[in-house]
Symmetry: C2
Subunit: 109 residues, 2 copies
């Protein structure tokens, strides 16, 4: 067996720029597949496949409305990613930024 499985986690799911675009489109409102096809100029099967990947890792959710499937981004699923990246804050350069972050971590929650 060669090459580890991939598309099965959030990190891999967002590795594709098309999928990131889809997540952005569906963050503020749910949309049917056809809208995404039009907006991104991709083939319908292609969009469906990307949506399947996103769905498998719970980055998007669906509900049926007649013959349409309405997708929307599940922003919460993006948090692990944000958190992971945030773990490196302490090593960022900009001092002002670092001070600000320190304050956030301590302060007003």
């Amino acid at each position: 067996m060669s090459r580890a499985a991939t598309t099965s986690d959030v990190f891999n799911a967002i590795a594709e720029s098309r999928r990131r675009e889809i997540l952005e489109l569906l963050a503020s409102q749910e949309r049917p597949v056809g809208d995404i096809v039009d907006l991104l100029g991709l083939e319908q099967p292609s969009v469906s496949k990307h949506l399947r990947v996103l769905r498998d890792v719970d980055l998007v959710r669906v509900r049926r409305e007649g013959r349409q499937m309405l997708y929307r981004t599940n922003a919460d699923a993006i948090r692990p990613l944000h958190d992971w990246a945030g773990g490196f804050k302490q090593y960022w350069r900009n001092q002002l930024q670092r001070i600000k972050e320190r304050a956030e971590e301590k302060g007003q929650s």
Copy 2:
């Protein structure tokens, strides 16, 4: 031409869990390749290849010290990722969290 190029950007570089582990190891201190090999239990060529990918997107930097190559994480390169994920904050569930984030965005910079 089929299948888009990948390993050429930060998102793809961190898609591999091994590479994320490497970034974590090298965040707090620089280390020679051999240390990573020992710590992660991977083959040396494998580690070198992952480091090459990380290096190409500037997620790690190197300097030579005798016959060793000392790598360290360039945390700043992780910020774009953090920022992208952060763009979804407004759609997160937890209200307390949301309120906190709102304060951050406005307030004390």
